[in-house]
């Protein structure tokens, strides 16, 4: 494998009690590349995303970043490596406002650690309107618990897009989004790619995947069954692999 790969997974396995969620999984993410991570329900996609984010530790195998072998033991490790994630379950705190959720753990503060509330509020509003144009959110002070399903997802997207650095992991980011917001997000992924940010897109919508991805990794029952460049495949072949394996 070329040394220039941003991130590589090497023979990763992961068990939960008796269940082997991932088995001997290896794939890589290159620079300025959008990888589509596809597969049936329960194939292990979210487990893979959580593992790259440092939430789960692999049972065996390892990661490498820029060719350097490494292991993420917590979320901060993966953040240090430039990884940003939109989780399938959104990972928002219902009892906090939108602004506080966006800046959770990465607050803008003065030298004493006190919050710059006005600044954060302004950024939150702007990023919500730009990253995914979401309607109905009239104030970034609203509690996340009071938002609709799609609005919550938009907040999670806004947060990841704002803090993105090198790799963006998107776990079914459009599942609750409307047509318009979905288009906006896919455009955003391409724009980030142009800026040099790689992405991993997990989705069940193969049209969306085909629209933006450069390469596809298809998983089934915890292992990789197919890894192909866009140029070498077609949407019908992808469908076949996802549905039939």
């Amino acid at each position: 494998m070329p040394a220039s790969n941003l991130l590589e997974l090497h023979n990763i396995s992961k068990s939960f009690g008796a269940l082997t969620a991932l088995r001997d999984l290896s794939f890589h993410i290159g620079p300025s590349e959008v990888v589509g991570l596809l597969g049936d329900n329960g194939a292990g996609k979210s487990t893979t995303v959580n593992l790259i984010s440092g939430i789960y530790k692999p049972t065996s195998g390892y990661l490498s970043v820029d060719g350097q072998r490494t292991l993420f033991t917590c979320r901060s490790d993966s953040a240090d490596a430039g990884i940003e994630t939109i989780y399938q379950n959104t990972a928002l705190v219902d009892s906090l406002s939108i602004t506080r959720n966006i800046f959770m753990g990465r607050e803008r503060t003065d030298v004493f650690g006190f919050l710059k509330q006005v600044e954060m509020r302004d950024i939150a509003m702007e990023v919500l309107e730009k990253a995914v144009h979401i309607s109905g959110i009239d104030s970034p002070d609203k509690l996340v618990g009071d938002l609709s399903g799609g609005q919550k997802q938009a907040v999670a997207i806004a947060r990841a897009v704002f803090f993105k650095r090198r790799v963006l992991l998107l776990d079914e980011p459009t599942s609750a989004l409307s047509v318009r917001e979905t288009e906006a997000l896919l455009a955003q992924v391409l724009k980030l790619k142009a800026e040099g940010v790689s992405s991993v897109l997990v989705t069940h919508n193969l049209y969306h995947a085909y629209q933006v991805c450069d390469r596809f990794v298809i998983m089934s029952h915890g292992t990789k069954v197919f890894d192909v460049n866009k140029a070498d495949t077609s949407i019908s072949q992808l469908t076949e692999y996802v549905v039939l394996t």
Binding site: N50, S53, I55, C74, R75, S76, A79, T85, Y87, T90, A91, L92, V93, D94, S95, L96, R100, F103, M104, G105, R106, E107, T109, F112, G113, F114, L115, Q117, S135, G136, I137, D138, R159
Partner: protein, 335 residues
């Protein structure tokens, strides 16, 4: 797109009262304000029979509030972070005994008091470490702590009351008066202000709310929830020690059996002030108003000469009634 103005029209303007009601701690503020208005009106109308506004009574209220106030502030922050500390009552006694006996042995109170606070912080850290290291419910760990440190008081000094006789400067710092205001009350106001800034204006507070509100999400986004909880445990322990110092400076001695049940009172004050036992919700102002409410109710009942044998029954009833009012107001605010 033709609808840029439409979302605006979906939100009605609300009256100031409704806005206050929906603020955190807004409802309890209204309940407290209403109680104060009734009490002050009553005191002005019947100055001889209901001496609510007499200087002695105000002084006692100011002396009474800080002890429970300190305990509740510490316990409250920890509860917002999603954990309990039932050992604060025992820590309160243990640190007070330590401080008093050190002073008895000739040490300056200005050194002994920080040592007491240090002990409280260390116990808090120990509670936190055991809880987090073994993944145990903090309820069990600190219930163990309650019994353990109560035993430690006896181990350290036996079941004897300890006299506390510090240098006058220390006494006046914690039990004196400044411009007619009790020193302990000034301390608690400083703590309220400080913790308000820490919890509502500082990034640490944001982490506390996130940790208590949804620990999985907080972890997933990179907050070190264990560290946040550990600091909160330390604060709870430290504030229990501060409460012990203030109480001891006032009374001038420590009883080995004191502090029992204070943990429940502190938790009650927090819950009355709108804090959720499941973590993630609460406010410093609410906690402080909860403490004030409990003490005002007790005070008013005593001033009204409620039958003393059953005083607790009345206090219990009034606290539940106040909480019910609080909730009704909140609900009206949300509707």
């Amino acid at each position: 797109m033709t609808d840029s103005a439409v979302p605006k029209s979906r939100t009605k303007k609300q009256s100031l009262l409704k806005q206050i009601m929906t603020m955190p701690a807004g409802a309890i503020l209204l309940v407290f304000a209403a109680l104060q208005i009734v009490c002050i009106a009553g005191a002005l109308a019947y100055p001889d029979d209901f001496r609510y506004l007499s200087p002695q009574n105000l002084t006692i209220l100011m002396k009474a509030i800080p002890v429970l106030g300190c305990l509740a502030l510490g316990a409250g922050i920890l509860m917002i972070a999603g954990e309990f500390d039932l050992s604060i009552g025992s820590v309160y006694t243990l640190t007070a005994v330590l401080m008093a006996s050190l002073v008895d042995g000739g040490m300056s109170a200005f050194i002994a008091a920080p040592l007491g606070i240090l002990l409280g912080v260390m116990i808090g850290l120990l509670n936190g470490t055991i809880t987090l290291r073994f993944g145990l419910p903090s309820f069990i760990v600190t219930l163990g702590g309650l019994l353990f440190w109560r035993g430690a008081v006896l181990l350290y000094n036996g079941a004897v009351q300890v006299r506390f006789d510090p240098e006058p400067a220390f006494s006046s710092l914690f039990a004196g008066t400044l411009l007619g205001i009790n020193a302990a009350f000034i301390w608690i106001m400083l703590f309220v202000a400080g913790f308000y800034l820490l919890l509502h204006r500082h990034k640490f507070g944001n982490h506390v709310f996130a940790t208590g509100g949804n620990p999985a999400a907080a972890t997933a986004i990179g907050i070190n929830t264990d560290r946040v909880k550990l600091v909160a445990f330390a604060i709870a322990g430290g504030m229990a020690a501060v409460a012990g110092i203030i109480a001891t400076a006032r009374v001038g001695s420590v009883q080995p059996g004191q502090g029992a049940g204070l943990e429940l009172q502190a938790i009650a004050a927090c819950v009355i002030g709108g804090l959720s036992l499941r973590g993630g919700r609460g406010s410093i102002i609410g906690i402080f108003l909860g403490v004030m409410l409990i003490h005002t109710i007790t005070d008013v009942l005593l001033l009204l000469r409620a039958p003393g044998f059953y005083l607790d029954m009345f206090i219990a009833t009034l606290i539940v009634v106040a909480a019910a009012f609080n909730h009704l107001i909140e609900r009206r605010g949300a509707a």
